[in-house]
Amino acid sequence: MTGQHDVETRELLRAYHEHGDARARERVVELHLPLVRALARRYVGRNEQLDDLVQVGSIGLIKAVDRFELDRGVELTTYAIPTIIGELKRHFRDKGWSVHVPRRLKELSLRLSQLVEDLSATLGRSPTVAELAEAAGTDEEHVLEALEIGQAYSALSLSSGPGNEDADTDPLRGLGTLEPGYERSEDRAVLVPGLQVLDERERKIMHLRFFAGLTQSEIAAEMGISQMHVSRLIRRSLERMREEIDVLRSSRRMG
């Protein structure tokens, strides 16, 4: 706001607050719409139209104009910014679109898992994050965040529930497709003590990924599960092996 702008604003606010001049109120709101627009632009995502957000932000501006106290010594601009931002944030909360809420990220994660499969089939290759974001109707940033959500190895991920991929898997299910002679292989894979802590399916995935040279998508196709699930299982397996190795090492030290 220029110095001239500030002076005019103060005069209009005075006219409104001290003399009830409704046109002055309109005029001061109009003068500050560029501010609302500039703030609304920060919040525009794939699902939002700038005009809708400007509407929302304007509510904040009007509240600020109405609540403004002339003797406080701040400019309207400074005073209005938190109020406008507050309205924008409330708008997202009400619509349930704050992606930072863990539940929303979990929902996105589940959708992404299916989208990876669908897009892989359509494209003939693993999709890029940009392609996933477009298909999911969200930003690349949120896709990257949601991909991490799927990775948490916690007791929660082992509980059954709708959409939980772990719920419908029987650890023995992969057994039917084991190559004959797998158990007798001289391959390092079998000689690795750490692998003992894994179940049959996990052991097979680790073997395919690190000793048989299959990619994640190839393993997913082989095992009939999603790529994201393969990724999760690999990471979980590595983490469990690390824990087991720590246990083995400390018991060896004590023994």
Partner: protein, 138 residues
Amino acid sequence: MTSMLRLTFPSRPEYVVLSRLVLSGLARAQAIGPNELGDLKLAVTEASSNSVRHAYDRAGGTVEIVYELGDSHIAIEVWDEGCGFDARASEPEPGALDEGGLGLSIIHAVCDETRLGRASGGTGSWIRFVKRIGGEDA
């Protein structure tokens, strides 16, 4: 007990998203409420964008961001090799509703403390902002 993380990237707009992604990662490492995370992402975007905006006249240049993670606060310092938010002073219309002025106002509005400074012994400037965290359901 504070932990420090440091991110550096070229002064170009396409890298600004990384400054937010670090916060996304920190939110997995420590309880940060969704409101607080949103505010911090907004603030770091404003600071990073401002650093990148004034880099056009220099070939190259790096932005450096230090994230200081405490039990109940996060402090972020954004360093660049230019004049930071002070660039406003050299604009033809000082105080106009320019991106720099607005950016600083936004950071003020969503953080608990904000400080600006010049880097000692050379060109460069920094902005530091602090926000209390853990005050809402994470």
